[in-house]
Amino acid sequence: MEHLISLFFRSIFVDNMIFAFFLGMCSYLAVSKNVKTSLGLGLAVTFVLLVTVPIDYLLQTKVLGPDCLIEGVDLSYLSFILFIAVIAGIVQLVEMAVEKYSPSLYSALGIFLPLIAVNCAIMGASLFMQQRINMDPSSTQYIGSVLDSVAYATGSGIGWTLAIVSMGAIREKMQYSDVPKPLQGLGITFITVGLMAMAMMCFSGLNL
């Protein structure tokens, strides 16, 4: 239990997808123009993470790992393809669901919903999960059960949402600031993310 909680909080604050690993930057930069769409995309990413990471965990431990299916056969080289296939499939489902139940959100997220499939945060979470299975069990980053992977996915998703919503809020305010012309838009956004990442680093000393 303790491990789950520390893993969860560590994924939000210390191992934040955006600020520590720069994962999912494309959609992060493009959609974070205001708080409302940011929140929508954040929730979509969290949901997809929550579904895909445990599935990928089971795939990795039950099918792909060494000696899982057949004694002496290591299928880990298929992990990239299978992970991305799971992600693309789930995203397709989410897209259909959102289109049906919330057309306004669908039109707001526009092209970025299908782009979740190629959102590095989601693929990244699966790949980190794969790496962490082999870690030392006493480490807070260790993922050793489906529950761990759920805690990790939720934490990462919330961390990502937190990052994109706060960025959305800052950019809403920034519209009224006098930014040098060439720096407007992308440039200042990058620098802001950098400063936010630096601020988030104060969590890295957190002893969980």
């Binding site: 191992d15 520590a20 690993f21 080289y77 298929l78 393809i81 980190f128 790496q131 870690m135 030392d136 069990p137 006493s138 480490s139 807070t140 980053q141 890295s204 000393g205």
Partner: protein
């Protein structure tokens, strides 16, 4: 998307889509299996070689080519023993061994199956002890080479397997810092408690090493790792 029809073939029919995806999957699977099978032996050699090099680094044998490293390892390492926490030898290993102590990982280490590399450098016996711990960003490990008195540090190498390399990577790349370990003692004068550690302010220069500037937390991790790790070998280290 422009719908391109090729010689009357309907690329959008269900049957075509199904056959198409099947073919793609089969082709890709075979291709990957082939590449994997072809490259696997090379990769295994690399993984083993990497570990051998780390062991050699701990013996202060750096700047060495891959081919030389494999040969050097064979010459230098007399046995890759496995011992337990009471100092009993479980497996004797062999000269230049890659099967006994060499393959142990952090899980074996936690379970009390300890690797011990007995080496001979310039006619003198050295022992290499692996240690495992946690840095700020992820797991770290290291190899500590000791003189025959099982107290004086002959050399040290630290590695960072972490996800992001920030300042923590300094413990791996900063050779100058690793060299600070040379000549330090594991035990403080007259005691039987592991004292070798990394601190911000050195009180006892015989056992303490300066922390890496700006990487205090990772340095703390190294310190914990040394004390915890070497304590596991306490019986072995204190037996004469």
């Amino acid at each position: 998307m422009a719908e391109v029809k090729k010689k009357g073939l309907n690329t959008n029919s269900n049957g075509y889509t199904l056959i198409y995806s099947t073919i793609i999957v089969v082709v890709v699977a075979f291709l990957l299996a082939f590449v994997f099978k072809a490259l696997k032996p090379l990769q295994d050699i690399n993984v083993a070689l990497d570990k051998k090099k780390q062991l050699l680094y701990a013996l202060n044998i750096r700047d060495i080519s891959d081919a030389e490293a494999a040969q050097k390892y064979k010459d230098v390492v007399l046995a890759d023993e496995i011992i337990d926490t009471k100092g009993n030898v479980v497996d004797k290993g062999e000269q230049g061994g890659e099967k006994a102590g060499f393959v142990l990982n952090s899980a074996d280490y936690k379970a009390g199956r300890l690797a011990l590399f007995v080496c001979k450098v310039d006619g003198q016996t050295k022992y290499i002890v692996p240690v495992y711990g946690m840095g700020l960003w992820g797991p770290i490990n290291g190899f500590i080479a000791l003189d025959a008195d099982k107290n004086t540090v002959y050399g040290a190498y630290f590695n960072h397997e972490g996800e992001t390399a920030g300042l923590g990577a300094e413990i791996k790349d900063n050779v100058k810092w690793q060299n600070l370990f040379k000549g330090k003692k594991v035990f403080a004068e007259g005691t039987r408690k592991v004292a070798l550690s990394v601190v911000k302010k050195v009180d006892d220069p015989s056992t303490q090493v300066d922390a890496v500037t700006g990487a205090t937390l990772t340095s703390n991790g190294v310190s914990d790792m040394l004390i915890e790790g070497l304590s596991k070998y306490l019986v072995f280290l204190t037996s004469k």
